[in-house]
């Protein structure tokens, strides 16, 4: 029974639009599952459904929607299920006029933590996120990154086994983003005395964040296009992306966009990424070099590179 988040056939419409369209998920202890997709894909709605803030459209029946958190039915055992969930929404509120510790204490008590345990627990969790030296600072005086960490502490204070993070690193600086991810990764690496671990679901519009997750689901227009382990997903495109650098770039770009055998050519500032069929790689490379030489263009570099997650996403959508 390692599956902590189990959702089946989720559908949610707002007016005439299906924000979530038949989504199913199963996330186990120790996993960081990334829901990756552009704005409007349905990520936030999915998270809201999973934490019980919204109800899915269909209920019950064999093909109806169901959500189980740590084995508890979110509709029929709401209290028990919700006690296991820590949720960090995109826009979370902190009381700016209260200190870090006061904020956390308030949220711990609101969560029903008995007065004897909130003290030590708050200290423990603040230490974990690295805010233990700032307990008396007013929340309003925290930097963006520190607010983010306090939000995370608040979501974890009651020791939930499921953590739902809605775009936690959007707009945040790279150092904070890095720190944040290290915390999440450490969190899932820990097993407490009862042998229980945590499952994390993160939503993000950043394709590159897929590599930080243990498993990824690409979402678009309310549906999950594909899911799998990051390495496996990228492996699907192995050998199909070549990077071309040289000058003049405009001439090389022309060669790339008109040459047969190149499925797509994408310019990236000072280089061009070519989508090819892996089987034809040598042939295409030779022809590019030949054509470049004929036109007097110089190739600085032409070699296969690891595909970006963006490439994976696009290839999935265009299938």
């Amino acid at each position: 029974m390692g599956v902590l988040i189990e959702a089946k056939n989720l559908v949610k419409s707002f007016g005439g639009t299906k924000a979530v369209d038949g989504l199913s998920l199963a996330i186990a202890e120790g996993e960081i599952y990334g829901v990756v997709g552009p704005d409007g894909a349905g990520k936030t709605t999915t998270l809201r459904l999973l934490c019980g803030v919204l109800e899915p459209d269909h209920g019950g029946g064999e093909n109806g929607a169901s959500i189980h958190i740590c084995g508890f039915d979110l509709t029929r055992q709401a209290e028990l299920a919700r006690a296991q969930i820590g949720y960090l929404p995109q826009r979370f509120s902190l009381y700016e006029d209260l200190t870090v510790m006061e904020n956390l204490r308030f949220l711990a008590e609101a969560r029903g933590l008995p007065w004897r345990s909130w003290g030590p627990r708050c200290k423990e969790i603040l230490e974990f996120v690295g805010l233990d030296k700032f307990t008396t600072r007013l929340a309003g005086h925290l930097s963006g990154g520190m607010k983010q960490k306090l939000g995370l502490a608040a979501a974890l204070v009651h020791r939930p086994r499921v953590l739902l993070l809605d775009e936690p690193t959007t707009g945040v600086d790279p150092v904070t983003r890095q720190d944040f991810w290290q915390l999440i990764l450490r969190l899932v690496g820990v097993i407490d005395q009862e042998g229980s671990g945590v499952a994390v679901l993160v939503s993000t519009p950043y394709m590159d964040e897929a590599s930080r997750c243990t498993r990824v689901g690409f979402m678009r227009n309310g549906k999950l296009l594909v899911e799998g382990r990051s390495a496996d997903l990228r492996g699907r495109l192995a050998g199909s992306i070549l990077e071309l650098r040289g000058s003049p770039l405009a001439a090389l770009r022309k060669i790339a966009t008109t040459m047969e055998g190149i499925e797509d050519a994408q310019m990236f500032g000072d280089r061009i990424h070519l989508h090819i069929s892996p089987k034809r790689r040598e042939e295409v490379e030779a022809r590019i070099r030949g054509e470049a030489a004929r036109q007097g263009a110089e190739i600085a570099d032409l070699r296969p590179i690891t595909p970006l997650f963006e490439d994976v996403f696009i290839s999935l959508v265009e299938k």
């Binding site: 599956v3 186990a28 600086d173 899932v188 690496g189 930080r212």
Partner: protein, 333 residues
């Protein structure tokens, strides 16, 4: 015209005690697509506002398209376009109405020009749609349309494709490259590393300072002066951080089996050649300095008792560059 499009010399802007932009100097050449990368609050927008003559520098100066940004701000603005989908569009007006409005603001009254722009950005058949009914991708097209209606030589693009579908983003960038081929110069501000990869040259901003400015490839080669590595510890790819094998019911994993990666991470942290190491899903990612070979890392891990590691050289990203620069700044303090 060989003249530089932007020349910024020790541009500085203070707000009371706070220095938002700290002696920033750089040049942008005609036909470039330059990225200005930095987190929110690093001073990017303040820099752009000075370049557009909307804010007077506390120190330093800038010349844009040959005009002094303080004394000839009007001339700068007449020849520059600014795209920001967040602030520029009237949601209750249609695509066509928005464009006509902006054209009017710039004194462009030709209906033909409006049609031309709609065609160029691919919005001809959507011109009667209300902006509130459009998806982010289409709004982005309208925002760029509004920015180019007066044929500016210089385009400022503020976070142009954040949150947008990757396909729409690629199409957008194709459009920008076409505009640049047609003689424009573009400066993109973004906090999103991936976006910066589309730029020919990237400047990295943090806390008001311009830490570096070069092509993405050169930044990676010079700033990192080494390679990025993926470090796998045997068993770490199989489970989730080697934590729990969920197919085996009832088997309790002892804490010692947990997080082989965490111990490897601690070991790498003590290695002086490792600039930075962190967790990345089911493996570690390390940035090293100097002439580090894979064996050095493996030896370090072996000496600490981790003998089942595997090390692979990988492509560094702009985020690695940023973090390396930020770390250097910290160490220099």
């Amino acid at each position: 015209m060989d003249e530089e499009v932007i020349i910024a010399r020790r541009l500085t802007r203070r707000f009371g005690e706070f220095t938002a932009v700290d002696h920033v100097s750089f040049t942008v050449h005609p036909g470039e697509v330059v990225g200005y990368l930095g987190p929110n609050g690093s001073g990017k927008t303040t820099t752009i506002r000075m370049l557009l003559g909307l804010l007077i520098p506390s120190e330093g100066e800038a010349v844009v398209l040959g005009y002094n940004v303080v004394r000839q701000a009007e001339q700068v603005r007449a020849r520059s376009g600014y795209m920001s989908q967040r602030f520029a569009l009237y949601h209750d007006l249609t695509v066509g109405e928005n464009l006509a409005f902006y054209a009017g603001v710039y004194g462009e009254r030709s209906k033909k020009r409006i049609e031309e722009v709609l065609d160029q950005v691919g919005l001809l058949r959507l011109q009667g749609e209300r902006v509130s009914d459009l998806s982010t991708g289409w709004r982005q097209r309208l925002a760029i349309g509004a920015a180019i209606v007066h044929r500016p030589q210089l385009l400022f693009l503020d976070e142009p494709t954040s949150g947008v579908d990757p396909i729409a983003r690629r199409e957008f960038w194709d459009l920008i490259y076409n505009l640049v081929d047609g003689g424009a110069t573009a400066m993109v501000t973004t906090h999103y590393m991936d976006e910066a990869e589309y730029c020919g040259r990237v400047g990295i901003m943090q806390d008001g300072k311009l830490l570096a400015m070069d092509t993405p490839s050169a930044l990676k080669a010079h700033t990192l002066s080494g390679v990025a590595w993926d470090v796998f510890v045997d068993g770490s790819e199989k489970g989730s951080l080697g934590v729990i094998n969920r197919q085996v019911e009832g088997v309790a994993e002892s804490p010692r089996d947990v997080a082989p990666l965490l111990s490897a991470l601690d070991v790498l942290g003590t290695c002086s050649h490792v600039l930075r190491a962190g967790l990345a899903g089911d493996h570690l990612r390390a940035i090293t300095s100097g002439d580090v070979q894979a064996d050095l890392l493996l030896r370090h891990l072996e000496e600490a008792g981790i003998s089942n590691a595997r090390v692979e050289a990988v492509e560094p990203t702009l985020e690695d560059v940023f973090l390396a620069l930020a770390a250097r700044k910290e160490n220099a303090k």
